[in-house]
């Protein structure tokens, strides 16, 4: 048995760095000024592959770097005939040696295991909750993105040259990047694997009297994924309102606000042709209207009501089977508070139509109109009249001399 080593200050358990690393990766894919990942689409990956080849596959032949065509070659004629590459000769032909990159047009469903077949369909998933503050309100935005779509993009990097040694150099350069058959590149911050699928040689060796050159194809597959910012969703989460009150002394009177909704009570009766007194069964705080078969009755003329009592007394009995509607607010007094404790008051104003204008200005800014009637016939808001800040406007023209009565809250 060996002698156990004396305990030294050796850190046997390395510091946990996974969290930091994840944060680092996250920052790389969100390089822009939002918290969302960068969009990555087909052309981004093509550009990423071009940059990868340009950076990693530099080979020098005859003291000159073998040029790499810095474009993905396509079948479009423009790309062939502009021949704007610096290594074209007088005839517009590319001088050997050179390296070209060709992408197979078909992009297949991807085999990248990290994004493959995890969840069926493409739902939006929670990505981040980002706090917001607009100066008065603190809240949060929910960022949602769909699952990235895995794609496999196949490329061929072709070297065309005259010398065997150039082939060897290029081959060494490529294989040094792929000791385990896979390498990585970063496209707009995203880590993308690249797999070397194989190498084949299509050199025209058999032509004795023709042009002879070496041509080797390195086949790669980029295991990419598509993330489209067009599909991102940003929606606000629940916002909270902070109301802060500050008092100058300890004995300040605090006003107690009540969360109270304004609820009006409607009570219906059916006339029998003889009865004149109708009771709603509770004290009427504020009486808004009494109508018989839709015709508004005038207090003091058609009926009588004593404030804070429960009775309505008609001057003449409403006809048999007449529909009697009594609308009132059953507060203890005629002061109504809204949900913030602000006092709501009731006013009723009467106008006579003179034929000059159908807009009638009231004395107070209108919070909401309770009733508007023309000669006792109730009009509906929207179809019979509209409400302005401190006015009502009829949408029709009544008979000159008509009496318009407006009851409203302010």
């Amino acid at each position: 048995m060996g002698i156990p080593k004396r305990k030294l200050n050796v850190n046997l358990y390395p510091e946990k760095i996974l969290g930091e690393r994840r944060q680092e990766l996250l920052e790389k894919i969100t390089k822009s000024d939002t918290y969302l990942p960068e969009t990555i689409l087909h052309d981004d990956m093509d550009m990423g592959f071009l940059e990868y080849v340009n950076k990693n596959f530099k080979v020098v032949s005859n003291n000159v770097q073998i040029p790499i065509i810095n474009k993905i070659l396509t079948i479009q004629r423009w790309g062939e005939f502009t021949q704007n590459w610096s290594f074209s000769n007088e005839d517009g032909n590319m001088e050997l040696p050179f390296v070209a990159i060709i992408r197979k047009p078909d992009v297949q469903y991807g085999t990248n295991p990290s994004v493959q077949r995890t969840i069926p369909d493409r739902y939006q998933f929670h990505y981040a909750t980002v706090p917001t503050w607009n100066g008065t309100t603190m809240g949060a935005d929910i960022y949602k993105i769909p699952q990235p779509i895995p794609v496999d993009i196949s490329y061929e990097v072709t070297i065309i040259c005259n010398r065997f040694r150039d082939l060897n150099k290029f081959n060494k350069k490529v294989l040094q990047r792929f000791p385990s058959r896979q390498d990585y590149t970063r496209v707009k911050g995203h880590y993308i694997p690249i797999v070397l699928d194989g190498i084949d040689d299509t050199s025209p060796m058999e032509a004795l009297d023709g042009r002879r050159f070496y041509m080797q194809n390195y086949k790669f597959t980029m295991l990419g994924f598509l993330i489209d910012s067009e599909e991102f969703e940003v929606s606000p989460a629940v916002s909270r309102l902070f109301i802060m009150s500050e008092f100058t002394n300890e004995n300040a009177n605090m006003r107690k606000y009540q969360n109270k909704s304004l609820s009006l009570t409607n009570v219906n009766f059916t006339g029998n042709g003889t009865q004149t007194l109708y009771s709603v069964g509770e004290s009427i705080g504020t009486l808004f209207g009494v109508s018989v078969n839709g015709v508004l009755q005038e207090k003091g003329n058609d009926f009588y009501h004593i404030t804070y009592t429960h009775k309505i007394t008609f001057v003449t009995p409403p006809p048999a089977n007449a529909l009697i509607l009594i609308t009132y607010y059953k507060g203890r007094n005629n002061v109504i508070l809204d949900t913030y404790g602000k006092v709501i008051q009731v006013d009723k104003e009467v106008f006579t139509y003179t034929g000059s204008t159908v807009t009638f200005n009231v004395s107070n800014p209108i919070s909401s109109v309770i009733t508007l009637d023309i000669n006792g016939l109730v009009e509906d808001e929207g179809s019979g009249y509209t409400v302005g800040e401190q006015s009502v406007t009829l949408l029709g023209y009544p008979v000159v001399g008509s009496v318009i009565t407006v009851s409203y809250l302010y």
């Binding site: 079948i75 070209a100 061929e156 072709t158 005259n162 299509t202 004795l208 042009r211």
Partner: protein, 170 residues
């Protein structure tokens, strides 16, 4: 081999004098009337150092003998529009050049044309195209290269165009 075997066949119809006369008339037409001149760049295989493994040599590392002008009957095939890869990476270059050269003419110039030598053909005042010899035509045993079955009298040399990156004159 210093011994020479005199050719006596066909002598009743074609003697050495007739043979020489025909060549003389041909040269008068080819060199005098047509006057198609070419420049031969012969590779100095002794001085050129090539690769130990692949026998390759860099573009600027090939050593040449002094260029020599010579005459020949030139035939150039029409150019072909071809591609390195299917449908992509096209190039358009002249077709192969075929030369017919009198053997006597080469002997008078004390030159030989061999595989790998370069030949320049000025297709205009400002543009010379270069070709490399891919078939030096040294074997002339066929009927076509023999005058009436008497003796070979010309060589057919096939050349392929080369790019400037391979050869651009000396």
């Amino acid at each position: 081999m210093n011994n020479k075997l005199p050719i006596t066949r066909m002598s009743k119809f074609l003697s050495q004098d007739d043979f020489d006369l025909n060549i003389q008339m041909g040269e008068e037409y080819l060199h005098g009337d047509l006057n198609m001149k070419l420049v031969l760049y012969r590779v100095d295989r002794q001085k050129t150092e090539n690769d130990d493994v692949y026998a390759e040599v860099g573009t600027d590392e090939i050593k040449y003998f002094p260029p020599i002008e010579f005459n020949g009957l030139v035939k150039i095939e029409e150019p072909k529009n071809v591609a390195y890869k299917t449908g992509l990476l096209r190039y358009l270059e002249p077709g192969n050049m075929t030369l017919s050269v009198y053997i006597k003419h080469l002997e008078e110039l004390k030159i030989d044309i061999r595989y790998g030598d370069y030949i320049g053909y000025p297709e205009s005042e400002t543009r010379t195209r270069f070709y490399t010899v891919t078939n030096d035509g040294k074997v002339t045993s066929d009927n076509k290269h023999n005058m009436f079955g008497y003796k070979p009298y010309y060589r057919t040399i096939t050349c392929t165009p080369v790019q400037d990156s391979s050869f651009r004159g000396v």
